[in-house]
Symmetry: C2
Amino acid sequence: MATTGPQKPVSGTQGRRSTIRDVARQAGVSVATVSRVLADNYPVTHATRAKVLRAVRQLDYVANAHAKALAGTGVETLALVLDDITWSAFAQIGAGVEQEAARRGRLCLVCTTQGDRQRELAVVNLMREQHAAAVILVGGIQYTAEYRERMSQFARSLDSVGSRLVLCGRPPLGEDLPATVVEYDNEGGAYGATAHLLSLGHRGILFVGVQEGQSTADGRLVGYRRALADYQVPAVPALEREAVFQRDAGLRAVREALRERVAFTAVFAATDMVALGALEALREAGRRVPEDVSLVGYDDIPMVSELTPRLTTVHVPYQELGRTAARLVLDRREGIGGAEDRVRLSTHVVVRGSTAPPPAPVPA
Amino acid sequence: MATTGPQKPVSGTQGRRSTIRDVARQAGVSVATVSRVLADNYPVTHATRAKVLRAVRQLDYVANAHAKALAGTGVETLALVLDDITWSAFAQIGAGVEQEAARRGRLCLVCTTQGDRQRELAVVNLMREQHAAAVILVGGIQYTAEYRERMSQFARSLDSVGSRLVLCGRPPLGEDLPATVVEYDNEGGAYGATAHLLSLGHRGILFVGVQEGQSTADGRLVGYRRALADYQVPAVPALEREAVFQRDAGLRAVREALRERVAFTAVFAATDMVALGALEALREAGRRVPEDVSLVGYDDIPMVSELTPRLTTVHVPYQELGRTAARLVLDRREGIGGAEDRVRLSTHVVVRGSTAPPPAPVPA
DNA sequence: TGAGCAAAAGAAACCGTTTTCTAACTCTGT
DNA sequence: ACAGAGTTAGAAAACGGTTTCTTTTGCTCA
C-alpha cells in the first residue's frame, strides 16, 4: 500500500535561507537600500534598483514574514475556529471567510476543535500569540453562564492585544463587550418551515433535534413552537424529540417515535443531516415521503436537492455569513467608518418535493 | 437585514500589548528570567517563578509568536493550498491534514485558488515567506510540461528555505525532486468500477468526464479503457464524453449522449458530482436507475449513500490522504528515520443500489 | 573564616526586517 | 568657486523574544 522512494538524506539540498543582508552584500549596497527597493517606498536610482533586483533573483530571496510582522509590516491573519471542516455548513462559512480574506490580502488560519471546549480555549490563546487580526468562532454552542463568562474573557483579552473576537452563527454576548457578531435568523427559519407545514394542513409535526441549551437547537425549537402557537396548535411534548445534529441521531429519534406510535404527519428535522436519518427511519417503516409523511430539513446543504424526493428545507446563507464576518472585522480594522458589529442575515424556506398536504384520513 | 449596534470608538479598549519586558518589570526580574520561567528550561527558584507567573497573570501576557519564530522557537505551520474548500473531497483532505497537524502541535494555513494557477504561484511564494514547514498542494491539475516546470521550481525553492512541497492527489514529479507525493490509486479505482459494470454484463458503458490533460480525469479514463480492453470490449469514442467535474457538466454530457442516441446501458461518471448530473439527465429521459441504466460515480462523497438509489461509487480515502501527507512531512522534519516521500493509497469500489445487470433485451 | 563551587539571576548579542536620522553626494544659481 | 537645496545612500535603533556568557549569591567544607 505504501511504497518508499529512493532514500535521500533527510535534510534535502537545503542551504541556509538567504537574508536581506545576503542580498545587500551581493548587490554591494546596504540593507536599508534593499528594503527600500523591495518596498518601493523611497527614491532609489535606477542603477541601484537594478543591482538589488538582480541580487534578489540570483539568491531567490523572499523576505521573512515573521521579521516583517515584528517590524510592523507583514500580512495580517484571520483565525477561523470551528468544530469540523467536513460539515458542509462550516465548510461554506470557511469558504466565505477565506474568500473575503484573500480578496483583501489576508491569510487564513484554520483550527478545528471537534466540539472540545478545552481545545477551543487553547486555540484562542494560540491565536492571541499569533497576532491574528481576528478570531472567528463558528457554530452553535452550549449556551451556559460558564460559556458567556469564557467568551467575555476571550473578547476582552483579544481586544486588549488589538485583535477581535467574532461570533459567527453563535448567539451574541452582552452589549458592551468588544466582539463582532454575525448571526442568521435561526428562529425565523424554523418558524417559516413549521408555518409551511401548518399551512399545508399538518397538525402533528414531529420536531427532531431538541438539545437543551444548545443555541442553534434552542433557536429552532423556539421557532417551531412559536409557529404552532400562532396557528393555535397545542405543543405536545411527545412530538419534541431529542437528537444531536447527526444522521444517526435523527434515525434513532424517528424510529423511536414510530415505535411509540406518536401521531404525526410531518417531520421537521432541525438539520438536513438529521432529516436524512429521519428519511431512512420513515422508509424502514414503509411511510412514503411526502405522501404519508412530509419532511423538512434545515441548512440547505448542497446535496439535499439531489435526494428523492428533493428535500424542502430552510436555506441559510452560510457562505455569505463567512464573508460578512470577514468583511466586518476587516472594515473595522481599516477604520472604515461605521463598521457594524452586529449583523443578522435572513433565512428562508425553500419548498421542494418532500412536503405535501397530509393524507386525507388523519391517522389516529 | 443588517442592524448596527451602539457606536463605539473603532479602536475599542485596546491598550498596548504587554511584552516580556513589561512582565519582567512588573515581577522585578530580568527578561531572561521571565523567558526561562515560561520555557521551563532552566533552574529558577520557586519564589522567582511565582513572582513571574503572577505578573504574567496580572498583565494577561502572551508571547509574540513572530518574535518567537524569529528567535527560532515558535510553532510551525503547514500550508494547505486547494481549489475550493466546499468540495467535499477537498474538505476531507483538509480535515485530515488539520487533524494530524493539530495532533502534533502545528498550525494550519489554508488558501484557496479557485483553480487559478496565477494565484497558486502567488500563494506558494507567500508561504515561502511565511516559513511554512510544508506547502501541501491538493487536487488534480492540467498536467503539462509547463506545470512540471513550475512545480519543479516550487519544489526546489521551497527546499532551499527548508520547507517542503507536498503533492496530495496529484501526479508525482521527477524522481530527483525534493517533494513528497501522496496519491491514491486513481486508475485502479476506475478499473474496478468499470470491471464491476462489465461483470454485470454491461457492454455499452458511457464514460462521462473526459478532460484532456487533467491528471485525475486522465487517470480515471485510462482505468476505464484498461478494463474494457481486459474484457475485450472495444472502446468506442462516442462513449467517452467530455465533462468538467461538476454536476451541470454531467447533466449536459448525458443529455447530449441521449440526444445522439448513443447506445449504452451504464454510465460511469468520473465524479460523484458528475453522477448527480447524469442521474438527472437519465430521469428526464425516463430511464430508470438501475433497471434501465446502471450508474457509477467516483469519490464516495458522504451524501451519495443517501440518494435513491444509493450510488455505487469508488471510495477514495481522502481524509487518510490528508493525514498521511501531514504525517510524512512532519516525520521527515522531526528526522524520523526512513520517512517515505512517496505513498499511494488504495481505492475500492463500493457497490450500492445504482448498479444492476443490463435489461434483458438490449436496446438498439 | 575564607577558599571553592554550584546555583540562580542578569547583560547583551542575536534572529531579519523597517525606518528614522544622519551623511554624502550632485546640482543650481550667483 | 561655493553656499544651499535636493537627492540617494548608509548607520543604527527599534520590534519582542531566546540564549550564551558573565556575574552575583549562597553554600559546603577544610
